[in-house]
Symmetry: C2
Subunit: 217 residues, 2 copies
Amino acid sequence: MDSVAVENYLKSIWELGPDDVATQDLAQLLNVAPASATKMVQRLTERGLVKHIPYKGASLTSEGRRRALSVVRRHRLLETFLSQTLDLGREQLHEEAENLEHGLSTELETVIANYLGNPERDPHGHPIPGPNGELPIDEDLLLSDCSLNQYLVVTQVPDRDPELLTWLEKNGIFPGIKLKIVSRDDFGGGINVSLEDSSIQISTSVANEVYVKLEND
Amino acid sequence: MDSVAVENYLKSIWELGPDDVATQDLAQLLNVAPASATKMVQRLTERGLVKHIPYKGASLTSEGRRRALSVVRRHRLLETFLSQTLDLGREQLHEEAENLEHGLSTELETVIANYLGNPERDPHGHPIPGPNGELPIDEDLLLSDCSLNQYLVVTQVPDRDPELLTWLEKNGIFPGIKLKIVSRDDFGGGINVSLEDSSIQISTSVANEVYVKLEND
DNA sequence: TAATAGTTTTAGCCAAGGCTAAACTTTATA
DNA sequence: TATAAAGTTTAGCCTTGGCTAAAACTATTA
């Protein structure tokens, strides 16, 4: 069994990957000093879970990726389970799942997955890896990359920042919602979006974290 | 925040307590060497969570007890929650709750408690401590202490041993079930019990782990 | 009551996972 | 292209929570 620390490193490298994950980014995501990240990356390299080119970056081996995706699967199943049973707000799910994911046994993971009907996405729209680490190719589009006046459906919102999620929620942006970009402000000022019965302005940084698909699938 | 190890030590001392908890018993319950238990008991004494009289035994301070009961509360709420939502068998609950209890935040604990209607007992019949460590006085009787031919209701079964729990379940012994001791075998050979529509023999060691109350409250 | 068995503690070791300070690479800039 | 800035690694330290072996204490029994 991987320790909590190892699981968190693997998951973080996966999230920052797939290639050349910088020590600093890893350290920042995990709230540790860069030197600590270097040391752990070296240990994981010893164990065959990470490939590390000094001064260049880290990436997961296939075994490392398998284990990272196991953590991601548990995380996303827990988010879905908590959302379904307790209806927590979408902005509370991430942190709770983060705490519980390391204690979820394979057996309970399976029971929960079955209970939920083996869902393909969590409440933020993120795809849930299969029990063996299969991850469907994610073909969603970045909202900020879409053209004007296309009919779009939101597929994914970020999960980490509760403030941002609360704001998105309040403005009616979450998976399943239909919208259309009506105009772009100059100089990276953001985009203007019309929803079912409102229209709002979304900054570029936020639009870079929201994924959509074309409405006619 | 207490570490997982500290939480487990506190919980175990509480379970073995209230007084003069032997190093060996503690070590055995936690699957560590006696020397490791001694060392941790000393550290917890430093921290003011445990009182330790060398060569005599350990016990919890009131703060130690408060923290131990917080773990017990999380454990029992989780058992209840898993049982209610996923209907796991009673024999699977303990281990899963053991894994998850350390990752349950105070906020989620509260949400779960409310969702369940602030239950007073878990699926094994064990009382659930309140959010501030209040524990109602447990007045249940040991099955093995009861007299013949009294009308009894099972209130608590043990939670740790899945084999035993499966056996009890199969023979219809779980909280809420009515029964009566019809006779005692000689020389500690156990007791003969009649249930609603069966009768079985229960060994003394098992009868020492089942609690009951008189049927007329 | 003296020897022995059982329990507990001490001493000394180890690995994991943190940290800071200093050294080393790489990248950017003058 | 030399030098400064930024990022990374190394070195050395610390705490936690394990372990074993040996010493010390307690309890039992001859």
